[in-house]
């Protein structure tokens, strides 16, 4: 219809809001990847021998692997020798308080809307901020420490809590798991670590902000969350990157280990630079996220709002090993212009009476491609298990694509798996109805899209939900007129 064409044409991107570069001096490794670079990174971080070995094993395995070609995305071959694998903002010795941190760096976070000092004082969210590759500051450490909660940068955890790291690193996502996880295992430079002791309910949201700053730099952070028996934590992750016209690689790994009766809620608002409206530049977001419900009655819930990146390749998954354990995946993925997303989840039911729920809402606009890829596997032993999947796609215009690839595999007869999928177009009649009440076209699209994504947005903590709603609107802004 005429109106639809109109919507498509007008669906040009607004300028990316976080596209500034900080003027920080960086201490970087030379370009390229080799055993020497792996050693360089490990040495730079004064790591113990076992960790270097772990990295080298991952690296050697990686050299035997090939990049996955099955995702429904296309991009020119990545030259892994043209990437800088380590870049740290130059600083004096490691900071012990906020006052010692480079003011430029603090300004960077302020621009991101996360003033650490403010955060510390007001919001009650503990923040660990990772800029390029190094974790910069962890607020609230003392307060959490009183409860026995550990929340710190990965490097610090390696130094201060080597036993925990040795025990759990790679326990959910092995170093050799897949191409990008292996790459990450070889060269990861920092990230966050979190341990919640048995019976402790973490009294505040824990939060990590990631930002890629230096040019030609890949970011390979690693997050490890260990929730001991009967504990609870809600963890937030936000990301941004400056505008650049070459693509940048982001290959992170997140591992969650939940013991008996533990519950972990992990929420992501991903807003990496998506490239410009002609598809130039943007982040390749190739991320492995997996949680293990190791004990009975454990629960892991992933919520993601994916609005950024040129390419997203990401399947936050749950391995439901404990009996009666629960896995959830709530996702909104928006693509506009030339963005491509291939995202979804894997729910692996191993324990008895395990339950999983998948709610995926894809929104495609412009010339973008948006795929849901989900696997539900119910093992023979996982009797009386349940899965419910709802995968909806919303199309804005007719030059974009929405695809659904569900893989369902049930090995026993007492389990039940339900899958529902819908595809709809944003209706001209819906937009007109809004306009007739005085709402302009752009706000109408935002209203309709937020309504569509509501079930997922409702899963987010309040402050994040508001931010996510704004981001959805921003991603689609300039789309109509």
């Amino acid at each position: 219809m005429a109106k639809d064409d109109h919507i498509i044409q007008e669906f040009t991107s607004r300028e990316y809001e976080h596209g500034w570069v900080s003027d920080l001096e960086a201490d970087a490794a030379p370009k390229g990847l080799s055993e020497d670079i792996v050693r360089f990174i490990s040495r730079r971080k004064s790591e113990p021998e076992w960790l270097l070995e772990w990295r080298l094993k991952a690296y050697r395995h990686w050299t035997t692997m090939v990049e996955p070609k099955w995702p429904n995305v296309t991009y020119p071959a990545i030259n892994y020798q043209d990437i800088i694998y380590y870049s740290a903002p130059k600083q004096k010795a490691s900071p012990t308080s906020l006052d010692e941190i480079d003011p430029e760096l603090l300004k960077t976070f302020e621009k991101l809307g996360i003033s650490l000092t403010e955060q510390k004082r007001l919001s009650g969210i503990a923040v660990d901020a990772v800029l390029d590759s190094v974790s910069v500051a962890t607020t609230f450490k003392e307060k959490l420490g009183e409860l026995g909660i550990i929340f710190c940068s990965f490097s610090e955890a390696v130094r201060e809590h080597p036993d925990l790291i040795k025990k759990y690193l790679g326990s959910v996502v092995p170093a050799t798991d897949n191409y990008f996880a292996a790459l990450n295992s070889a060269v990861f430079s920092d990230g966050s670590f979190c341990y919640i002791p048995a019976g402790v309910r973490c009294p505040m949201e824990l939060s990590t902000y990631f930002r890629i700053n230096a040019a030609k730099t890949g970011q390979f952070e690693r997050t490890l969350i260990v929730a001991d028996e009967g504990s609870y934590v809600s963890y937030l992750e936000g990301c941004t990157a400056p505008m650049r016209d070459e693509n940048q690689l982001h290959a992170a790994v997140v591992e969650i280990y939940a013991m008996k009766n533990a519950e972990v809620k992990y929420s992501t608002v991903q807003n990496w630079y998506p490239g410009n409206k002609d598809g130039v530049g943007g982040i390749y977001n190739f991320v492995t996220k997996r949680g293990l419900c190791a004990g009975d009655h454990a629960k892991i819930s992933w919520t993601q709002v994916e609005t950024g990146s040129a390419i997203t390749w990401k399947y936050p998954s749950c391995v439901l090993k404990g009996d009666y354990s629960v896995g959830e995946f709530y996702s909104v993925a928006v693509t506009n212009n030339y963005q491509q997303a291939d995202t979804g989840t894997k729910m692996i039911h191993l324990g008895k009476n395990t339950k999983s729920r998948i709610v995926s809402k894809g929104i495609s606009a412009g010339k973008s491609q948006n795929s849901y890829r989900g696997q539900v596997h119910v093992h023979k032993r996982a009797v009386q298990s349940r899965n419910f999947s709802q995968c909806d796609s919303l199309l804005l215009g007719d030059q974009c694509g929405a695809h659904t690839f569900p893989y369902i595999d049930v090995e026993n007869s007492s389990s039940r798996v339900e899958h529902e999928a819908t595809t709809s177009k944003i209706g001209e009649d819906q937009i007109f109805y809004c306009q007739q009440r005085g709402i302009d076209e752009e706000s109408a699209v935002a209203l309709i899209v937020n309504g569509y994504a509501k079930e997922v947005l409702n899963q987010l903590p309040m402050e994040f939900a508001v931010e996510a709603q704004k981001l959805l609107a921003l991603t689609l802004e300039g789309s109509v007129g």
Binding site: E428, F432, Q435, G438, K454
Partner: protein, 252 residues
């Protein structure tokens, strides 16, 4: 308030309105009747600014301005309200949220500050009472799973909230039970004033017992072929449209 002159409109090359002229003054109620497919909803949608309907001839003046040059949302903000014959569903958006967004955009347009939550709630409660609508309905996704009558009542609730100057009610009475009809008509009458006007599109004279029109027009094949007072509606109820069609045939 509204002056339509020789309005022609078409959709996809198919002419539907073939020269409509109609003047509506502040304080008046006009009823538009006519057989199915005669163009009543098309007229309503054209006045509201639906893009699919292309105006090929004629003019529409509203409050001294050229209505046809305004975007649909500008028309709405300037006080044109259309109660839809088939209200649209918007999943995940409650009527309350929808009205908050609409009302505040209208207020900003008028140079007024957006209503805060308390003031909005107060206004809402007042209007809920007027059209006897339950808050549980307003908390649900807009029109999703609403019964036919609930949708219509919700349209009138929205009209009450936005306090338009010119309301066009497109078959708001169809689908309403007798009690609901009375309530809706009561709402419409309560909102009537010497400063606003109403165009009621209906098939049934019964509604006009409650909302008493000053003028009744018969639309047929995209033209107003007969105008009169209340009595015309009674006559139509009794005799149907055939006599008008016959009159037209002999006149030709």
């Amino acid at each position: 308030m509204l002056k339509i002159q020789n309005l022609h409109a078409q959709i996809e090359e198919k002419p539907i309105l073939n020269g409509i002229s109609l003047t509506v003054n502040a304080g008046e109620v006009h009823a538009i009747m006519g057989p199915n497919g005669s163009g009543k909803s098309t007229l309503a949608a054209t006045l509201a600014g639906r893009e699919e309907y292309t105006v090929t001839q004629g003019s529409v003046e509203y409050m001294g301005k050229n209505l046809l040059e305004m975007t649909p949302e500008e028309r709405a903000r300037e006080g044109v309200f259309l109660a839809f014959q088939y209200p649209v569903e918007i999943p995940g958006v409650s009527t309350i949220n929808f009205m908050k967004t609409a009302l505040n955009q209208i207020r900003v347009h008028r140079g007024e500050a957006p209503l805060d939550a308390v003031a909005f709630l107060k206004l809402m409660k007042e209007k809920m009472k007027l059209v006897e609508i339950d808050q549980s309905l307003l908390n649900r996704s807009l029109n999703e799973g609403f019964s036919g009558g609930e949708k219509k009542r919700n349209e009138i609730f929205q009209m009450a909230m936005l306090e338009p100057r010119l309301s066009i009610l497109d078959e708001t009475d169809s689908g309403l039970d007798i009690d609901a009809l009375r309530i809706v008509a009561h709402g419409v009458n309560a909102l009537r004033s010497k400063n606003n006007a109403t165009i009621v599109v209906t098939h049934y004279q019964r509604l006009l017992d409650y909302i008493v029109p000053d003028f009744v027009h018969v639309l047929y094949k995209g033209r107003i072929v007969k105008s009169g007072t209340r009595e015309l509606a009674l006559e139509l109820e009794e005799k149907g449209y055939d006599w008008i069609k016959a009159d037209l045939a002999t006149a030709r």
